[in-house]
């Protein structure tokens, strides 16, 4: 059967990784391909790179890292951040990424999901959703890095995104992000029960138990985390042993 995927997420600015500076055993800690290779060797099943380069002029240069990563690692990886057109998809996929993730631009222009899915196949199109609990007991979609609230309901947006052709949904919980108190199980469970594409949990990992919980209680297909990996609090090889011993099927 399919294994659950463990996915470290790396932020890249101007072609350099901006988190994960604690790896003293890697000579060039800021290089996306070296850190990518480190995680790949550690047993990561997939990688996500978010390009957070501020200026659109610098983006083209920044995206050169995608080719370096593709040349260096031999596991699948996804690139996101600032993707707003079909041309952005073409650029990133041509440089060797396997998937492209879209967030704010999909909210602004939902037909981008459909166009990309028809052109490149649903498996390439990842819809990333930033969600935050609202007063009505549901979750609102936020854009622009979680700064701007939209009228969209996160669960309905996930359903709509899949209808339009998204092949995978990443659910980032704004409330849990950085809190290290576990993933938003309630939200994740509601989304996994409504869509038939893989759902990836993001935001809230603090312990190895949180990863197990997301799989067993919310039935997610993959679990994404950043800081617990970057700062060495959880080693991927240890995490995989733990999950394997606790009833979660992972790749050995």
């Amino acid at each position: 059967m399919l294994a659950k995927r463990i996915i470290p997420c790396l932020d890249v600015r101007n072609g350099r990784v901006v988190k994960g500076k604690k790896f003293q055993d890697i000579i060039d800690v800021d290089s996306p391909e070296k850190l990518g290779k480190f995680y790949s060797d550690e047993g990561a099943d997939e990688l996500v790179f978010y390009d957070i380069t501020a200026s659109s002029d610098e983006r083209q240069i920044s995206l050169e890292f995608v080719k370096q990563v593709a040349d260096t690692i031999n596991i699948p990886f996804c690139v996101g951040g600032g993707v707003s057109t079909i041309d952005d998809f073409v650029t990133i996929l041509r440089k060797g990424a396997d998937k492209v993730s879209i967030n704010s631009s999909a909210v602004k222009n939902p037909s981008l999901i459909q166009q990309a899915s028809e052109k490149f196949g649903a498996q390439c199109v990842v819809l990333s959703i930033d969600a935050k609990k609202n007063d009505e007991g549901s979750w609102s979609v936020y854009v622009k890095g979680g700064r701007e609230k939209t009228p969209l309901d996160a669960i309905e947006w996930a359903v709509e995104g899949v209808k339009l052709g998204a092949g995978e949904i990443v659910v980032n919980s704004i409330d849990e992000d950085g809190m290290k108190s576990g993933y938003d199980i309630d939200l994740l469970r509601k989304i996994t029960s409504r869509v038939n594409v893989p759902v990836i949990a993001s935001g809230g990992a603090g312990t190895m138990e949180h990863f197990r919980q997301a799989v067993h209680e919310a039935n997610v297909d993959g679990i994404l985390a950043a800081s617990v990996f970057h700062f060495g609090e959880i080693k991927i090889s240890d995490l995989k042993k733990y999950l394997n011993n606790n009833g979660v099927l992972v790749r050995k």
Partner: protein, 201 residues
């Protein structure tokens, strides 16, 4: 010269890198002459079956491939490239394939998520096949596909369980096919290509 067949779909760089890492230098080409002069052939694949087979036919590459493979030249098909090796596909209509291996490409009609995407483990069906030399039963490989090959058991070297038995590695004489992406399957994929190298060099 080992030739990666370029029929105008997808990014072939990852496939080329995968072979390069095990020491197989390749040339990406759509020239009939290169197909004829090659030592072995690599048929990659991303995209739709209909488009792929049409592009191969438009350039006469289908006949060139069949001719060379019938002479005993090694070929390996990857993902859609593996599916093209079979007789027919039912992906959006009915399309004739290269017909190098008996069997048909069917939609995965199963109660699980499709595409079958992610890491799945291999069960050996022909454990003595030399392609398996450097890997173990239960090792994981990376799949992304919605259609699978329905073919004869003696052509299935290894399969993965996803409600149905999905042929992962198929073989007929000098013809190999991998439904998963060895170039994206980490060390296991590397070890498969390493074994393949020993078969062709």
């Amino acid at each position: 010269m080992h030739v990666i067949i370029d029929y105008g779909l997808g990014n072939l760089n990852s496939v080329q890198k995968g072979f390069e890492r095990v020491g197989i230098e390749t040339k990406i080409s759509d020239q009939l002459k290169d197909i004829r002069d090659s030592h072995s052939l690599i048929l990659p694949g991303v995209g739709a079956y209909r488009d792929a087979i049409k592009l191969l036919k438009d350039k006469g590459m289908d006949q060139a491939l069949i001719e060379q493979v019938n002479k005993g030249k090694p070929i390996i098909g990857i993902c859609l490239g593996m599916q093209l090796l079979f007789e027919v596909s039912y992906e959006y209509g009915m399309h004739q394939g290269l017909g190098l291996i008996k069997g048909e490409i069917m939609k995965m009609e199963i109660p699980l998520k499709v595409p079958h995407m992610g890491w799945n483990s291999l069960t050996f069906n022909q454990p003595n096949d030399p392609i398996l030399k450097y890997i173990n039963e239960g090792d994981y490989v990376y799949y992304v596909h919605s259609y699978f090959a329905r073919c004869e058991g003696n052509n299935i070297i290894a399969f993965s369980d996803y409600h149905i038995q999905v042929p992962g590695i198929v073989r007929k004489d000098n013809i190999y096919g991998m439904q998963f992406h060895p170039e994206k399957s980490g060390q296991v994929g590397h070890n498969l290509l390493k074994a393949y190298k020993e078969l062709i060099i």
